[in-house]
Amino acid sequence: MNPRETTTDVSELKRPRRWHILVFLLPALAVYTAVMILPLIETLRQSFYNTVDGQYTFVGLGNFKVLFGDPRWASDFWNALKNNFVFFLIHMAVQNPIGIALAAMLSIPKLRFSAFYRTAIFLPTLLSFVIVGFIWKLILSPIWGVAPYLMDVVGLKWLFAPWLGRPDSALIAVSLISVWQYIGIPMMLIYAALLNIPDEVIEAAELDGVTGWSQFWKIKLPLILPAIGIVSILTFVGNFNAFDLIYTVQGALAGPDGSTDILGTLLYRTFFGFQLQLGDRSMGATIAAIMFLIILAGVSLYLFVIQRRMRRYQF
């Protein structure tokens, strides 16, 4: 065959329409649209409607004006947003560095029982938040808890306080419980990234005399930065959607004195109502819309600003 013939063959050959791709995508697309996209659109739509004089009518940005303009709604909202940021910052400051450290330690080739540690640390992530919530409520209980007992054994009883019941410590305590539960996720992602670094790179570094700590800081850390970026964005989305753990540990009023109230619990109380408070769907949808915008803004910031500037290395 001469080359000319081959080219004409290819150009004449009509590329078949690859219908199967569409067919295979369809179920996932249909399910995702039905359970995610449509409810999202419906929620956003509902945030522009409210009941005025018994009539369900379009109120434009009226609900948002109430949320930010009415001093009570606004103080509840800003309190929840502030707490949510604290919740997020504690995760970023505690969960992710410890996750990276654990992953780095696990990837030391000489470490024995690393599979056991890996499983043990990842296990809480698989537990239901209900179980985690109740376990920690019991551990920290000043009456039956194992925490005050153990602290007593080592002579640190005076340090113990009913952390979950104090306005100044409750949010920190709940955040740390959440960190304990989810630390397996950054650990696993970063562990995988560390394993992906080719041995040649490490060997070259060792030949150049870069070992130990400086090897971690100068070689490994830059190479796992994209994974850290992913972990951060997952933490951000997870934290601003959080609700379950706070609900199980502190209840729907997110006490004491609203000190653990985050956007998720505020949304729950508003939308579904609580005790004598009746649910207000329109205001609930408004809060949900704001949450959506916050998460959208965070993810966009990451996708369009941070991720583009991140250097990637190809091996």
Binding site: S141, P148, A252, F272, G273
Partner: protein, 419 residues
């Protein structure tokens, strides 16, 4: 023994059921409720008693978790999937359901004449014309105490505020018992067992409550701030780490005999009777000075109504008429000591603790919880705010005056008393 009876009942009901099928269409009624603790009583006592008399009607009791009940029920009613019979929360939650036409008008139901207007007040429209739920039971607040502990320490039952705190001091000085079992973690304990328990003595029950609704009194007035001030004093008598003590913790502390006084609602009686190994007694909230009229919170708590969209309305009405009968009242009040019948016919109760609670109805003036009628209609919700405020006051993170002011400001923001 019980097993055989159960089997017998099951057999009987299945035979009755199939007999009904042969004759006519069998009707199954479903009851929505938040009282999942009562499942056994309904299944073993109440439903068989009803079904024995009304062949052809079957009843299923289907409860959900108390904190989720209101939200779940509203969702089910909107979707049209709710049961035929709806257990009614008192006041506005149910009134709202009636206004949305989810609950049927029961004013003319046979058996309604067995209830006084006060009993019906929790499930009647503001103009007093329409009643939409059959009253089932009320609960009374007071204090349950460990009789053995009191005898051991030589304490007599306190009747005034001064005696009450003297008793607490004595228990504290002795050191064997935690003086009072209450925590602030769950918030509602502080409000319901604290503020609403002792409060009526200060705001003079109905007098103060109605004045508040009419706008003649404010939550910042002395009768409403003083109970907060008394509550603030409770702090010193609660157990270690009470800030993180939950409601079940408090119950266990008391029934295990580690605490001597439990600020209670009468609904605890059944549970405490089976758990506690010591003798228990009860006393009403102490009055300020000896000889003062005492007021108690005798709060309408449970009613039962008809889903307006129920396809089995006739059968459901038969059931509701039975619920309104003295027969139901007697079974219910004895199966659940502490839930006192609202039926005008006096019900014989065998439980001594329940008898003690109900005896206060004769010497004290009853009222209902101040936040329930009308005042919790708007946002911010006065009841929920009272939970937070009461817990703050006991924790010492807010002064009684500030707490009262915050509540009044919240109320003022939406509530305009009719002039």
């Amino acid at each position: 023994m019980t097993r055989t009876t159960m089997k017998g009942l099951l057999l009987a009901s299945s035979i009755l059921g199939s007999a009904g099928l042969a004759e006519a269409q069998d009707v199954t009624l479903t009851i929505e409720s938040w009282r999942n603790d009562d499942l056994a009583i309904w299944q073993e006592k109440l439903i068989p008693a009803f079904e024995a008399k009304n062949p052809g009607i079957k009843v299923v009791f289907s409860p959900s978790a108390p904190t989720e009940y209101n939200a779940a029920l509203n969702a089910k009613l909107d979707a049209g999937s709710a049961g035929d019979l709806i257990t009614c929360r008192p006041f506005d939650a149910s009134l709202e359901l009636y206004n949305k036409k989810h609950l049927a008008d029961l004013t003319g139901l046979a058996g309604m004449e067995n209830f006084s207007d006060v009993a019906k007040s929790a499930w009647t429209t503001d103009d007093g014309k329409t009643t939409f739920c059959v009253p089932m039971a009320s609960v009374i607040h007071g204090f349950i105490y460990n009789k053995d502990a009191f005898d051991q320490l030589g304490i007599s039952v306190p009747t005034t505020e001064e005696e009450f705190f003297a008793a607490l001091d004595k228990i504290k000085a002795d050191g064997n018992y935690i003086p009072m079992a209450m925590g602030t973690k769950d918030l509602w304990e502080a409000a319901t067992m604290g503020y609403q328990n002792i409060g009526p003595n200060y705001w003079k029950g109905e007098e103060g409550r109605l004045a508040l609704i009419k706008g003649e009194q404010k939550l910042t007035d002395e009768p409403w701030v003083e109970p907060f001030r008394v509550l603030a004093k409770w702090k010193d008598y609660l157990g270690d780490g009470f800030e993180a003590q939950t409601y079940p913790d408090s119950q266990n502390l008391f029934t295990l005999g580690r605490a001597s006084i439990y600020p209670a609602g009468s609904w605890e009686i059944a549970g405490f009777n089976t758990q506690a190994q010591f003798k228990m007694g009860a006393f009403p909230p102490p009055v300020k000075k000896a000889g003062d009229t005492c007021y108690i919170s005798d709060h309408n708590d449970i009613g039962i109504g008809l889903n307006a969209k129920s396809p089995n309305a006739e059968a459901a009405k038969t059931f509701l008429t039975w619920v309104a009968s003295p027969e139901f009242a007697e079974i219910y009040a004895n199966a659940l000591p502490g839930f006192f019948s609202l039926n005008s016919t006096a019900v014989k109760m065998t439980d001594p603790l329940a008898q003690e609670f109900v005896s206060w109805r004769e010497k004290c003036k009853p009222t209902i919880r101040s936040t329930y009628q009308i005042l919790s209609r708007g946002t911010p919700n006065l009841e929920n705010e009272t939970w937070v405020a009461s817990a703050n006051v006991i924790n010492g993170t807010q002064t009684p005056e500030d707490a009262a002011k915050k509540l009044q400001d919240g109320l003022d923001s939406w509530y305009k008393p009719a002039k």
